[in-house]
Symmetry: C2
Subunit: 437 residues, 2 copies
């Protein structure tokens, strides 16, 4: 008998890789944060002795969700101003609230709230963009969740930096500080084409290449952005990024609405990753990302919630369902974005976009044990004909009972093991009073 850290025995396992695989009555052997192997429960019991044995006969196990676009600490602004279009929402509500309240403590407390919500809804890795990225990384590491923190860059001054050069400089410092971290990596995060000029974008492209880290950007979020680009640069944002040399497999392009066929071709040819945020795009009436066309053109499409201020949750389980339903409706074809594809978008495609596919995104020997468990034994999840269909079309965040990141059991029977939920709520209520005053 081999002594290992833990074993999860489950009714069903959907490893995502190999594709279209459903394992019944199987076990995942975990040691030192990694998946050792997936095997029959019977074989696992003969081969391994585990410090922790989790028996989940009524659960389906999948890779943890990868939320490929977040502004974690903006959770403190959840529901502050709804039913407004993007630019009015940003200019008259969100940006003023941010300029008044954002500081290191805001980012720490807001990120804790977001992480607690993400763990409680099955997210094991998030790709963030916000001020004070070092605080975000530190908070995430302490909480045990995997993160990619965006080294944000803007032309204009904020509390974090006063000009593009300073944003870049401070970003490089954060990148240095977290270079050896297992759980936190970095990406450059130039905010958007309309907030970052050509020179910093080119500088970022050179640095990202040197450091081999991704570039995370809002791109084609709204028609307004495209019009502004036509006025300022006489070209659409994607064409501009192409000319600046940014369309590469290092680019994580978020939103991507209002696409023309030549733009889809450019994205596909250059291996750009797309992050689809359907609920934020709907809520802000930003436009529609042509997910099924992108996918069939060979583009890797991942999934993100965006910040909780424009969603208003960070629930990848709900986002996956919305993505599948919306894609069918828009394509006028109920067979596009199947349940299997939706789960892949929410897991493996996210890992690919973030350059983390060797580490996470599927349940494969050697990858990190980033794992979630859905309880299928409730009124809402019965009868059960097809587990993957059930979790995508009938599932919800509250059915996710257990979450492991890097082998650490961070949600156990819906309780956060490492975070103090009451302490987080107390801090959030104090922010609420301050922001609302």
């Amino acid at each position: 008998m081999q002594q290992i850290d833990s074993i999860i025995e489950a009714g069903w396992i959907i490893p995502v890789e190999p594709a279209n695989t459903l394992l019944e009555n199987s076990a995942i052997a975990i040691h030192n944060g990694r998946i050792l192997e997936i095997l029959d429960i019977k074989d696992a019991r003969q081969k391994y002795q585990a410090d922790a044995l989790h028996q989940l006969p009524h659960h389906v196990i999948t890779p943890g969700f990868i939320n490929a676009h977040t502004h974690a600490s903006m959770s403190l602004l959840r529901g502050l101003s709804d039913d407004l279009p993007l630019m009015e929402w940003l200019q008259n509500h969100i940006w003023p609230a941010e300029s008044q309240h954002v500081n290191e403590t805001f980012v720490k407390d807001g990120t804790q709230l977001a992480i607690a919500e993400m763990l409680r809804s099955g997210t094991t890795c998030f790709n963030d963009m916000y001020y004070f990225p070092g605080i975000t990384a530190k908070t995430a590491i302490e909480a045990g969740i995997r993160s990619v923190v965006g080294l944000i860059v803007l032309d204009s001054p904020t509390i974090w930096a006063s000009n593009a050069d300073e944003y870049i400089e401070k970003g490089l410092e954060v990148n240095d500080n977290f270079r050896d971290e297992e759980l936190a990596t970095t990406a450059f995060a130039p905010h958007a084409p309309y907030t970052v000029s050509d020179k910093p974008l080119q500088h970022i492209q050179i640095l990202a290449n040197e450091l081999d880290i991704p570039i995370h950007i809002h791109l084609h979020e709204t028609n307004h952005e495209i019009e502004q680009s036509m006025t300022a640069y006489n070209m659409r944002p994607i064409e501009r990024l192409k000319q600046l040399g940014l369309l590469t497999p290092n680019l994580i392009a978020v939103h991507m609405t209002h696409l023309q066929q030549n733009e889809i071709d450019d994205i596909a040819e250059n291996g750009v990753h797309v992050v689809h945020c359907p609920e934020s795009n709907l809520k802000l009436a930003s436009g529609f990302c042509p997910v099924s066309t992108l996918s069939s053109s060979g583009v890797n499409v991942a999934l993100g919630t965006d910040g909780a201020a424009s969603n208003n949750d960070m629930d990848m389980c709900g986002e996956m369902r919305t993505a599948a339903l919306l894609a069918k409706g828009l394509a006028n074809d109920a067979s596009v974005l199947s349940a299997t594809q939706a789960l892949e978008m929410a897991t493996l495609n996210g890992a690919r976009a973030l350059g983390l596919e060797s580490k996470t995104g599927s349940l494969v020997a050697g990858k990190a044990a980033d794992i979630i468990a859905f309880d299928l034994n409730s009124i809402e999840m019965q009868p059960l004909y097809n587990p993957v269909s059930q979790l995508v079309y009938a599932g919800s965040r509250d059915k996710i009972t257990d979450v492991w990141v890097n082998g650490q059991h961070l949600l156990a029977n819906r309780n956060l093991t490492r975070m103090d939920q009451q302490e987080i709520l107390d801090k959030v209520k104090s922010w609420q009073k301050q922001i609302n005053s």
Copy 2:
């Protein structure tokens, strides 16, 4: 002190009527199944002595949801065949499964599953269409939930009847049997324009008028239905119903996709009620109901989940959110279908569509105590700037802790008080084996 049945004290109450009202620290006094009054907690404590006192300082209270289109017992087919277009799904999967398995026990057990799910997600009244409507009504009454059961009519034979005349005759018998019930009422339910011919439709219109009950029909669900009508009748389905005299305030028209402006005008002028089922329409790629145009034209638009076989849940909380988000995206305007309007659609507009607005749909003295409570004190629901926005955009079914129908406390701290959840699950698992074999 006046002795009454129960008092609910709550942090916030959204009565839906009067519109745009948010009451803080208020109480609902309930006696003999009805709302006596809504008043300040302080005043309530001086005026009333209640057998049951529910103190919910962290909850927001709203009217129960009215699910205005269901096929309750089809919950037994949840997830049986997904990612397929409507006609293929119906003809090759659902109809064969139905013809093989549907009987009185199927309807009873499936309806119990649906009711358990509906109560656990805040639905206090549902408008159903299925075979054996008397079984549905009886099951609903026993469970304590309010229902409108559809007296289904088709041209073709099923296990319930062999021709339109027999469907109508059996429907009238069901209507007779439940005439004096407080909780269950009836509606005629001719299935759809493509399954019911002119003669029975005219007969139904006369009978519905005489009995003063609504007519519940699938209408303009897909483009296929419209094309079929053009071929068979040389007119679109709405025009055909207009000529047959069915466009009246008694008509509950479900789905209503692919609408032309003249059809929207006809619907508005004739006071026809529309039931929007956004998730089912998306999942089956049926088309889009122009909700914001209908509403601004003065049409009463209610909300329904459709059956769990095409959704795949009966969760009105999620449906309300999908409706709001989708309407914004389609209208290219983030201000349409506000949180307040979405809640109204899910409650009062449903009562109006079903002809039950004097009984339910809002929290008003004299109406039935059909009430639900959302817990706002969790990670996912904080911070809290606006309760109605929070429950529509950040809420989920698991935050609904308590449900009352007609004053009866049917869900208490998420436990069903009158239904045996394990017994329901056992029966469902036995059906699953049978259907899957």
